[in-house]
């Protein structure tokens, strides 16, 4: 009798212990065979969806490298900016690598690996422009204002530089406006500008903000987040980061940083 009871107890205990470890593995991306990674569909150089449905860009390559380092297959899905927190929280997407800036507000909902790159707000002007060395030189010039983007505020409101705003629906419209002479400058994240850069446009290389592009991951997945950080460290150590940055942004003339950024920390 006693022996049977003891056996039963042992079994119950063992089951409890096993299920506890199983739960721990389940909630981390490290327990999955393949990862669903959210990227942008419409950001040249960073995340673009091609006609065949394939995604290309710096973010996509970085995400593929991280997934490879974790030993996982990656499946890319398009993740609009407005749902990035939601899809991570409900678990339908495992990682978001989509020009996703780390901010304290977002950190209350999701965690961030990385940043894998620190972009800076910079200014794009025509190649013939010689009088703009710095954001302050935009005074009195026509700056493109994209509906729904805050970048122009950082020039006009935060730095109180008296620019004339010209509205546009998107950054690609701004860039064609710049070439055509309808605007004098476009100001937003340098990597986004670099994606648009052509031979007759130049980036001023006077950065004035830090935009830390992180890898969004479900809050609480410390093991997954630390593994992402390790993968990013290795991406810089083995020269892949430099190669990818040069591949996507090298031609733009942008001053790129090839050393590992300061991580946000997972805990």
């Amino acid at each position: 009798m006693a022996a049977r009871r003891v056996t039963a107890l042992v079994l119950v205990g063992a089951v409890a212990l096993l299920s506890a470890t199983a739960c721990g593995a389940d909630s981390s991306i490290l327990g999955k065979d393949s990862l669903v990674i959210g990227v942008k569909p419409d950001q040249p150089g960073l995340g673009m969806k091609k006609a065949e449905g394939e995604f290309v860009g710096f973010d996509v390559d970085v995400a593929a490298y991280i997934a490879g380092k974790l030993g996982k297959n990656a499946r890319f899905v398009e993740t609009p900016s407005s749902v990035r927190e939601k899809v991570l929280m409900d678990g339908s997407v495992d990682l978001v690598v989509a020009t996703y800036s780390i901010t304290p507000e977002r950190k209350t909902k999701v965690a961030f690996g990385g940043p894998y790159y620190v972009a800076h707000q910079d200014t794009l002007v025509r190649g013939t422009e010689s009088a703009v060395d710095n954001v302050r030189d935009l005074k009195g010039r026509k700056l493109c204002q994209v509906t729904g983007s805050n970048s122009w505020r950082r020039v006009k409101e935060e730095r109180k530089i008296a620019v004339k705003l010209v509205e546009a629906a998107s950054y690609s419209e701004c860039v064609s406006g710049l070439t055509a002479g309808r605007v004098d400058a476009v100001s937003t994240d340098d990597l986004i500008l670099a994606g648009f850069a052509t031979a007759d446009l130049k980036i001023v290389n006077a950065p004035f903000t830090d935009e830390r592009y992180g890898v969004g991951i479900q809050a609480g997945d410390l093991d997954g987040c630390e593994a992402v950080n390790k993968a990013i460290t290795e991406m810089y150590q083995d020269g892949t980061a430099k190669k990818l940055l040069e591949k996507w942004f090298g031609k733009s003339g942008l001053a790129l940083t090839f050393t590992v950024p300061q991580f946000e920390g997972c805990g």
Partner: protein
């Protein structure tokens, strides 16, 4: 273990070859006594393993990796202060006098501190090739930084200037130095601290779950041993129609007390380990990061004055760093100052801010901690007010007033308050580790001793009964 425990259950089912021996009364007594001694031995082994895990966990958090992690957090601080001191020297100009010399002395002191912190980091990164590469890169970079800084200082001495920006040559070299420090070395140093925090987290998670599992097995082992002892007692009482066997009863009491005490001690050790980790270690690490970032924040003030062409960039990173310390919404410095002025006086009644101080405010667990944090925030507010004045002087072109303001005392006062708060956490950490150590102290002797006593008592108890059959 799941395989071992049931096998030691009482009165094993009579298997054919052993059956003849178990049919005789002395055979059964011997079997029962043997099973009881085995169960006691097993209990002692289980306790030994669990206590070993508790000891390992406390050692890792409290005595080896934990303190090393805190030391590597100082690496960032030392590096960022080196760069801040170089900026101070360049900014103070020829008539800087004693302040200039003090900054140079402090530079040397921080360099020594950085060297020893790199060694700690190298030690922690053993077995982690990625981490080792980072440590080596920091070491190489530090050498390059020192050369650049020395050249900038030399160039500055060669062209004396009033308080404010130095000669263009000195500034050009300093830019290379500070870029190397801020964009390359400091991020790596910071990531090293995060990495080594991971080492401690893993050690803690592994050992603390081992201790809790061990507690379960000790409970089970104790229950089995007690069951065997009670069964043996009952058998003897019935078979020989005697009163309770006192030696066996004593053995039962010893096993019972040992089990209960063992479970309690493991619980205690695991509690203290958690306190050390969550109330001590985690917070010390967060506050060390806050101190390091605060220090480079202060450096950004000097750099803002030092390099007017890059003033916008330095102002922006100043704001970003401020917000990582105490986050309140505010897209530019003016809005941030206003938000800080509104938020800080509302604490501790209301704490609706994020960032390092937000997470500290969410985890008030120690007596006096809330007051210490309020003190830190109050001085932080004062520091931000002085920063505002400094920037007003600078934009009005009053260079020497701005420099004097930037070198004022408010940062030191704020930093001291932060050190005090950290000390409170450090104290909690040390206390919890010491309490955990005390809890398991001596048990490595006590457990086998008690098990041996119980085994002897069992043998003493059954011996007269066996003698009746000789």
């Amino acid at each position: 273990m799941a395989v071992v425990v049931p096998a030691t259950g009482p009165a094993p089912a009579p298997s054919p070859p052993r059956a003849p021996r178990l049919r005789t009364v002395p055979g059964r007594i011997r079997a029962g006594a043997g099973a009881a001694v085995l169960a006691v031995g097993l209990l002692s082994a289980l306790m030994g393993v669990a206590l070993g895990h508790a000891g390992d966990g406390l050692r890792a958090i409290g005595h080896t990796a934990g303190p090393q992690v805190v030391a590597t957090a100082d690496l960032y601080f030392a590096l960022s202060d080196m760069d801040a001191q170089v900026a101070t020297v360049l900014l103070s100009g020829a008539e800087g006098g004693p302040g200039r010399q003090a900054a140079l002395d402090r530079y040397d002191q921080r360099r020594a501190q950085a060297d020893s912190a790199v060694l700690q980091a190298a030690d922690l990164a053993r077995g982690d090739p990625t981490g080792q590469l980072t440590v080596r890169a920091v070491l190489d970079g530090l050498g390059r930084y020192e050369r650049l800084a020395a050249r900038a200082l030399l160039l500055d001495e060669q062209s004396p200037h009033a308080a404010g920006p130095p000669s263009q040559q000195a500034l050009d070299v300093y830019r290379q130095a500070t870029d190397l420090m801020r964009l390359d070395l400091l991020p790596k140093a910071y990531n090293l601290t995060l990495d080594s925090g991971t080492v401690v987290r893993h050690a803690y998670a592994a050992e603390s779950s081992a201790v809790l599992a061990g507690r379960f097995w000790v409970m089970l082992g104790g229950a089995v041993a007690l069951a065997v002892l009670v069964a043996l007692q009952v058998f003897l009482v019935r078979r020989f129609r005697r009163a309770t066997n006192p030696a066996l009863l004593a053995a039962t009491v010893v096993v019972g007390v040992l089990t209960v005490a063992g479970v309690l001690v493991l619980q205690r050790a695991s509690d203290e380990m958690r306190t050390a980790k969550e109330d001590g270690f985690d917070s010390v690490l967060v506050l060390s990061r806050a101190r390091a970032i605060g220090n480079s924040l202060h450096g950004d003030e000097s750099r803002y004055l030092l390099d007017p062409q890059r003033a916008d960039t330095y102002e922006q990173v100043y704001l970003d760093k401020s917000q990582s310390l105490l986050y309140v919404p505010g897209g530019n410095l003016d809005k941030y100052y206003a938000a800080v002025d509104e938020t800080v006086p509302a604490f501790p009644g209301k704490s609706d801010f994020l960032g390092f101080y937000g997470s500290e405010a969410d985890r008030v667990t120690l007596p006096g901690q809330r007051e210490a944090l309020a003190e830190v925030l109050k001085h932080y507010q004062q520091f931000q007010r002085d920063d505002r004045k400094m920037r007003q002087f600078a934009t009005a072109g009053k260079n020497s007033d701005a420099v004097r303001q930037a070198m004022g005392t408010s940062f030191g006062v704020y930093d001291d308050a932060l050190v005090e708060l950290t000390e409170l956490r450090r104290q909690a950490f040390g206390d919890a580790v010491a309490a955990g150590d005390r809890a398991i102290d001596g048990w490595n002797l006590l457990v086998p001793g008690a098990a041996l006593a119980a085994a002897l008592l069992i043998l003493v108890g059954v011996r007269p009964r066996l003698a009746e059959y000789r």
